[in-house]
Symmetry: C2
């Protein structure tokens, strides 16, 4: 009846901050999915206006077996609301209901809800426990795993945040059935990225199964989520706070963040911007002689088959490359004004380095519609 | 010429987050005081409208030897500005000036500046390094040490924050000479608290030297800061994230926070509220038979000699005790609606426990003016 027997586990090894990702069908209705949370404490489900009506009541019913009081809060929907104002709604709710230091937060939603709930948990009374219940493919394969939490600032994406690990991540594959196709494609961008940076066999597998994934085939989704989480777990386990290696997970994100900021948050989905961004980063790698044209074509074709844009938008009719460069210079990966790009150093291996502006300009000029 | 040769060090042992507190005269003008900060990075001095004009230029001059760019930002002054709005001024400045992930923040000021700068450092790009340069006695003996950072929420003090350790704490005793007497007294409240909770010999010493301390005698101040930091270092080293023992450092603070919130932040100085709060907590300890009346009288007399209030304000003419209880229930130390008090369990030893409301009411009725 419930999916716990068929659930797969991926372990994130971070010493006393270690936890498991459970992946399977029907996990949302299985009380055992939430065993990592301390019973007897208060709970707050943070969700959004889209996901809340679909799943919040079901989650609340299951959590009522662990927590004497389960409250719910729906935040406004979308990347443009990943702001201090929305975050403060969580604090208002917590303080208004007398939530103490043991109150457990549940992030029920996509990346925006997960990032904001995690950051709220990191800050409320200097840290309360939280559980990720990601409901988008993007959140299940990437943003809910690894403890990066943040809100946006008008001058930059994810600029204010914390590294703060959840008690558990519960990926119920059934909820992906209600995901709009555009959101599913956006999630596939983060699945695809794991291939070029870490595992070309996985890229092969995605090429074979991309249609099944877009059709929400349960077995294909289970494998995509599991392998993505495994690769992420390995990287995060080695470099929790992104002092080095972890930056490779940002493949396509330097260009992608510029697209999101330049178009206005929410105009392009994060995964869409990463899709076009990966093509640009691959092209830049080719310019540097790190991969050949066949590799770029192969990656571009897969991104297209996933239903994602493969060309960046024009952000400035006068000086498009200049605008991209300007936006990328305030990205977190920049250091001393120098933009650091995640490049593919031969298929299946990533490297992080600076690149001369002239070369970046060429690539932007060639890769924007 | 500089005081580094006479500087004393107190070590905070927290594994990879360990650091030193330097205590001495003239440290602000000594480049060696800031050796823990990585050279070659950008720097931002965060200060306030009172301290900035006195010391920011001097600090900037010394830091220019380590950092190619040293910017300054003065926040509005006072506890009522320990808010998201002020915190956001720091983020605006950092993002506006292109500050990267290695930018070092310097907190130059009292507890408010230290708490806000530390929290900004904890959150900016998910964490940048920072150094505490406390300029009040209160900040030198307490708030700058141990990594507690926070801002206030309209519904509660220090409700939003992080445990985030500095690279170093630099306590220049010379700057205390410009401290208004009222601020000096407020700092003495946090010095006095270490006696009853941990070291009655230190309480004896304070009784002998309280007049010298109020007169800013350098040797007395040096000893008071050093011994206070030693006790705090020992407690924090055992319980960084306040899962147990560390709560004893909040002696007097449960009542004190109610006073601050009830009067409106900034009306009473934090140390003043803690002064009256310690008398109330001592009286509560006596009601429970943990200390005798002589102990309470002795502590009360010292608090008075330090220039601090020994009676709490009336927060509500109709139901004063009810108002105190209401405010204390939303303090961080409350759990499941139960207020946990730091009590003196025999001189020099603290214990944290719940107390029946009726007893707390009696004490409040007796201890408020």
């Amino acid at each position: 009846m419930n999916g716990s027997s068929s659930a797969q586990q991926v372990h994130i090894a971070l010493g006393e901050r270690s936890y498991d990702i459970a992946i399977g069908a029907g996990l949302l209705d299985d009380p055992a999915s939430f065993d990592a949370a301390r019973a007897g404490t208060q709970a707050l489900i943070v969700t959004d206006a889209t996901v809340g009506p679909l799943y919040a009541e079901r989650l609340a019913r299951v959590l009522a077996r662990r927590h004497p009081q389960v409250r719910q809060l729906a935040l406004p929907d979308g990347e443009q609301h990943k702001s201090w104002e929305s975050l403060n709604l969580v604090f208002d709710e917590l303080l208004g209901s007398g939530a103490d230091r043991k109150t457990t937060l549940y992030a029920l939603g996509g990346g925006v809800v997960g990032d904001m709930t995690g950051f709220a948990a990191a800050c409320y009374m200097r840290g309360v426990p939280f559980v990720q219940v990601p409901t988008t493919l993007l959140a299940q394969v990437d943003s809910s795993v690894g403890g990066k939490t943040a809100i946006n600032h008008p001058l930059g994406k994810n600029m204010i945040g914390a590294f703060y690990q959840p008690l558990a991540v519960v990926c119920d594959l059934d909820v992906l059935k209600t995901l709009p196709p555009r959101e599913l494609s956006a999630g596939l961008a983060e699945v695809i990225k794991y291939g070029p940076i870490a595992d070309m066999d996985f890229l092969d597998w995605i090429e074979t199964h991309v249609d099944a994934l877009r059709a929400c085939d349960p077995a294909a989704l289970a494998q995509a989520v599991k392998r993505s989480c495994e690769i992420k777990a390995e990287v995060v386990g080695q470099d929790e706070r992104e002092s080095g290696l972890r930056a490779i997970l940002n493949f396509g994100h330097t260009f992608g963040h510029a697209i999101e900021a330049g178009m206005g948050y929410g105009a392009w989905l994060h995964g869409e911007a990463v899709g076009a961004g990966m093509v640009m980063a691959a092209e830049l790698s080719r310019e540097l002689g790190l991969v050949d044209a066949g590799f770029v074509q192969r990656l571009t074709a897969l991104i297209e088959r996933a239903g994602l844009p493969t060309r960046g938008p024009v952000l400035d009719a006068q000086d498009n490359a200049g605008r991209y460069l300007q936006l990328m210079r305030i990205d977190k990966k920049a250091e001393g004004g120098e933009i650091r790009f995640v490049l593919i150093d031969g298929p299946g291996r990533a490297v992080v380095r600076a690149v001369p502006d002239a070369l970046v300009r060429q690539v932007i000029d060639r890769c924007c519609a």
